[in-house]
């Protein structure tokens, strides 16, 4: 560039630069489009209360993420719907995700986990615990509670692994 454009021309050149060389990747447009299927207006949303990966370790302590994330450092997530708390330990290992969860109600009840490849279904034990051994990396969402006309399931916010 022998003579860079001045003023407004430079602003336009920068805007055009991004339009030309850094558009939204097509796969992300598809992912956002598919996101609508994850909505569940009937479930009570359990919002993310705590993410150890965000709030836990002091800055500078964590090692940089490897290709599969921090395999030896479980991430703890806590979700709260107002009446129900769902705690989940997330371990990413070898490109797969393992979940160990605890619901604040110590009762056996259906639990299901939506993932990029479909849905896992199971049951919490008498102490409200559940575990999911093998899920694909990507977005996950957990629902818990008896399904029926007179009960409301709790669904966590979708989280990325």
């Amino acid at each position: 560039m022998t003579q860079p454009p001045a003023g407004e021309d430079l602003g336009e050149a920068v805007a055009r630069l991004y339009v030309d060389t850094d558009p939204v990747p097509a796969r992300l447009l598809q992912a956002a489009s598919a996101g609508l299927a994850w909505r569940d207006p009937d479930a009570a949303l359990a919002a993310l209360l705590l993410d150890s990966a965000v709030a836990g370790a002091p800055a500078g302590v964590r090692a940089g993420p490897g290709p599969d994330g921090d395999a030896d450092d479980p991430r703890l997530l806590s979700f709260d719907s107002g009446g129900t708390v769902i705690d989940v330990e997330v371990v990413v290992d070898g490109g797969r995700v393992r979940l160990v969860g605890q619901v604040s109600h110590p009762v056996e009840a259906p639990v299901r986990v939506r993932h990029a490849g479909g849905e896992w279904t199971g049951t919490t034990d008498r102490l409200g615990r559940f575990s999911v051994p093998d899920l694909p990396v990507g977005p996950l969402r957990i629902w818990w509670g008896p399904a029926g006309p007179e009960t409301t399931q709790v669904g966590t916010a979708t989280f990325l692994t």
Partner: protein, 214 residues
Amino acid sequence: MTAFDPTIALIEAADGDQRAWDALVARYSGLVWAVARGFRFNEADASDVFQATWFRLVEKLGQIRDGDGLGSWLATTARNEAIDMIRRRGRESPADVAEHLGRAPSTTDLPEEEALRAEEQRLLWQAVDRMPDRCARLLRAMGAHPAPSYAELGAALDMPVGSIGPTRARCLETLRGLLTGEPYPGAATPRQHGKHGQHGPTLKGGTHDATTRG
């Protein structure tokens, strides 16, 4: 063909209307992506910020009704997700200049005019990469397609709308100084970019690799 109305699209999407949802995605994805990229994330981290932002909107469908404010809400949400991402990483994950340049059109086998433009874009990328964070975020957000409103830019930058114009003017002046190598008024200490500086001589090779792969 009726004009796109985000308020109506929000109502329809909350009812599960995929076409309305896709219209929202088409309209605002450029803004969400630009906010994420403005934080100089690499593509993987920017992708996570982008996806998380859209999931937050899925969860809020039926509650967010103000279509005119939707762009600002998405820009704010993307900024918050980006800040969380920085905390998760314990550092920023700067996109490699070469990653961007790999996408720029190759200078080989192009008409002279296009080759010249590709070379200009290469130099622009390098200059923008040396800008202070605030300028990089603002210019990247302004480069969203379709172009964002000043309210949306204010949300993306957490900046009063009245400051956007003057800040942009200063940032463009800084950028011009970086391009010409001339000192510029109010210059911030340049970010340390030893790593990127060393890319200089190998840029052409990197671009060549990218084109032969594809």
